[in-house]
């Protein structure tokens, strides 16, 4: 009887131990709210990475991973915090992929993740403010900060022989942020910003704005706005008055309408936008299509990578505890090591199991800088004969 009891108890312990081996990953995204159309393919991409790892059977000696979704709502910080708390306390997740919006991310990070020691890998929060949060190595993002684009663009300007420039930006948070980041980086590289002035979208007349910019002068004019809004009005007026002939465009300006409207008048103008020539992007696209995910949707690659990085770090640490694997995240993403592309997670798990080193590239060509955010890859574009031409990738 006694023996039977011990046997029962010990077998019970074994069963619970085996169950404890299975882990959960939270996927917290804005499933309702302003980005509800973007999130379904993103969540599916995260689940795709998890499925790939499960199918390999190599993860932490055969541990299976399941996913739990949580709704962050994008705009309601309270709802985002509550959803994250539920994921941690009632679902007991080992890490969270998300949140998606910058505001929700910042709320979840400071109110939930840091007090609970939970790792967050956001696939899409791009606010520069998140770079300065003291997160104790708990926060990472596979999307680049908006500030990063300013650094890249400033470098492209210097490379193209622009020594001084005037900046005009659309009068909102995006415009202000990108303009100040371009100015800061450009001045650091020895360039001179003659004037940085805002413009309002949806006005008919921009002659006063262009007059002031022209008087300040410069080798080129940086237009940090929207192609369908005030940005086009500024360019039109600047071309008409002959104020500037060389324009520099950040991401927001590269719309179809820009070249339809101005064509070869913009020859010699240049700029950047997110883009990569990595073979990983094409491979992931193929995989997403095979799994029935809209592969052209934004942030799909970033989300796949976020989930893959989290699981690979766990494998490298040999543990699914956030405190253990958080230190391994930078190691699996950055060199040295074997380059890992989408669909090669099994290979990566095997290398890590054997004590090797990997350099995760993934679908978004991810490389972590600073405290753990994607350096981002940008395509440098010039206008030639009225058409966009990619010169190189940064």
């Amino acid at each position: 009887m006694k023996k039977l009891l011990i046997a029962t108890v010990s077998s019970l312990v074994l069963i619970t131990a085996a169950q404890a081996e299975d882990i959960k990953i939270g996927i917290e995204m804005g499933f309702t709210g302003p980005i509800e159309t973007l999130t379904p393919p993103m969540a599916a991409a995260a689940e795709l990475a998890v499925k790939e790892v499960n199918d390999s059977g190599l993860f932490l000696d055969g541990t299976k991973i399941s996913t739990v979704r949580g709704d962050e709502t994008c705009i309601d910080a309270g709802a985002a915090t509550a959803a994250a708390e539920r994921l941690i306390t009632s679902d007991g997740v080992s890490g969270i992929v998300g949140p998606t919006c910058s505001g929700a991310t910042s709320a979840v990070l400071t109110n939930v993740a840091i007090p609970n020691g939970m790792v967050l890998i956001s696939p899409s929060a791009t606010s520069p403010g998140l770079s300065t949060v003291e997160s104790n190595g708990l926060f990472y993002r596979t999307a680049p900060s908006d500030a990063r684009e300013g650094e890249i663009l400033a470098q492209i300007m210097i490379d193209n022989g622009v020594k001084s420039a005037a900046i005009t930006y659309t009068n909102n948070d995006y415009g202000k942020g990108i303009a100040s980041s371009i100015q800061e980086s450009f001045e650091k590289l020895g360039g001179k910003v003659t004037l940085s002035a805002p413009h309002e979208d949806g006005k008919g007349d921009y002659s006063a704005e262009v007059g002031a910019l022209a008087s300040a002068g410069g080798d080129g004019l940086v237009v940090a706005g929207y192609a369908d809004q005030g940005g086009a009005g500024i360019i039109q007026t600047a071309l008409d008055t002959g104020a500037f002939s060389k324009f520099i465009f950040p991401n927001g300006m590269w719309g179809e309408s820009l070249l339809n409207k101005f064509g070869s008048q913009l020859d010699g103008s240049f700029g950047d936008r997110p883009g990569s020539d990595s073979p990983g992007a094409a491979k992931l696209k193929e995989m997403a299509e095979a799994a029935g995910i809209d592969s052209n949707a934004t942030f799909v690659a970033e989300t796949y990578d976020a989930a893959a990085i989290m699981l690979l770090a766990m494998q490298a640490a040999g543990s699914a505890k956030p405190a253990d694997y958080k230190t391994k995240i930078m190691d699996v993403v950055n060199a040295p090591g074997e380059k890992i592309y989408p669909g090669e997670l099994a290979k990566a798990l095997q290398i890590l199991k054997d004590g090797g080193d990997i350099d995760y590239v993934g679908g978004s060509d991810v490389e972590f800088i600073g405290k753990g955010e994607s350096a981002g890859s940008y395509a440098e574009i010039v206008v030639e004969n009225g058409a966009m031409k990619v010169v190189k990738y940064h």
Binding site: H199, S207, V210, G211, A214, G217, D240, G242
Partner: protein, 336 residues
């Protein structure tokens, strides 16, 4: 040579844009001031009358373009303008018949009429958006430039350059013609005299046998024609977007009030004053001073009175200053 460079730069960035913009405002203000002078209320629907007229003209322009008609170097919209004006006149007269006349016969006070015009404004606002949509539309065709900045530089060899657009020239010439004709019409013709009489003293005018309904109809016709012309010229020069036209209401009224509400000549002057101050106050004179001053006197900064962020505030500021010191406007209009 430096003096010439400074002048060319000033013309390119201050003179030309503000003369063009001033002409467009003047035409708009003329229409608003006529309604105020004779019908005695501020017509808030005037900005949207401009949008409606421009919309009608754009539709007619598209029709003409589809038939392959063009005016050579001039914009086709000029040919479509009479159609646009007729449609707008028809619409405005119908509004008067259905809405304003009801209140006029009951002799309501002018504040009520202002509120009625606010209602008409919202209806027109919606109509324009339903018919043509909210998007930005460019409908200028023909030659864009009389001469471009690059050509000018080649001819003169100056460092500074100047571009002149077809639409700028068309705007200034048409405004000159229309203002001269309107002045002649109001001063010399029998109808014009009866309108002025009606404006000065309504009862006396009635006693002298002036038909009030006829005067009212003529005021609406003139105001609709002027609004359409102003709107089309503005749209040709910049672009057409219903929301922008709605916002034009402020500078148009500022121009009319500054010149003296109800005074046609004042409205023209007011248009130019508002346009000039908007551009002049926010222009950075660094470049011009660079040509005029000796090298060691050059300003470090931009030599700008206000940054362009305050552009919109300028028309308000002009309005407040004029109302403080000359409440009836620079050219003695009626006090509001």
């Amino acid at each position: 040579m430096d003096l010439l460079n400074a002048f060319v730069a000033f013309s390119n960035y201050v003179l030309l844009p503000s003369i063009t913009y001033g002409s467009q405002l003047a035409l708009g203000a003329l229409g608003a001031t006529l309604v105020y002078g004779i019908l005695r209320f501020s017509n808030f629907a005037h900005g949207d009358t401009m949008a409606f007229g421009t919309m009608a003209t754009i539709l007619a322009t598209w029709g003409l373009q589809a038939m392959g008609v063009s005016l050579g170097p001039l914009p086709t919209a000029l040919l479509a303008l009479p159609v646009g004006i007729l449609v707008t006149i028809g619409f405005v007269l119908a509004t008067d018949r259905l809405v304003y006349r009801h209140y006029r016969t009951r002799k309501v006070n002018s504040l009520t009429l202002v509120m009625v015009s606010l209602g008409v404004m919202f209806v027109m606002n919606g109509l324009v958006r339903i018919i043509i949509g909210v998007d930005d539309r460019q409908f200028a065709d023909g030659a864009r430039f009389i001469f471009t900045a690059a050509q000018f530089r080649e001819w003169t060899g100056l460092q500074e350059s100047l571009g002149l657009r077809t639409t700028q020239l068309v705007t200034v010439i048409l405004t000159g013609l229309v203002v001269a004709w309107l002045h002649w019409f109001l001063q010399r013709t029998r109808t014009g005299k009866s309108m002025r009489a009606f404006s000065d003293n309504e009862n006396l005018a009635l006693l002298s046998g002036i038909d009030p309904e006829r005067v009212v109809a003529i005021v609406w016709i003139l105001s609709a024609a002027l609004a359409t012309l102003a709107g089309v010229l503005y749209g040709l020069d910049k672009s057409f977007r219903p929301f922008t036209y709605f916002q034009l209401l402020l500078p148009v009224f500022a121009a009319a009030v500054v010149g003296g509400f109800g005074n046609p000549l004042g409205a023209v002057a007011g248009g130019f004053i508002v346009a000039f101050s908007e551009v002049f106050v926010t222009y950075s004179f660094k470049k011009i001073l660079g040509y005029l001053l000796p090298a060691d006197w050059q300003p470090e900064g931009l030599a700008q009175l206000l940054t362009t962020d305050y552009k919109v505030a300028v028309s308000f500021a002009v309005l407040v200053l004029v109302l403080l010191f000359r409440p009836t406007g620079i050219f003695r209009g009626k006090s509001a």
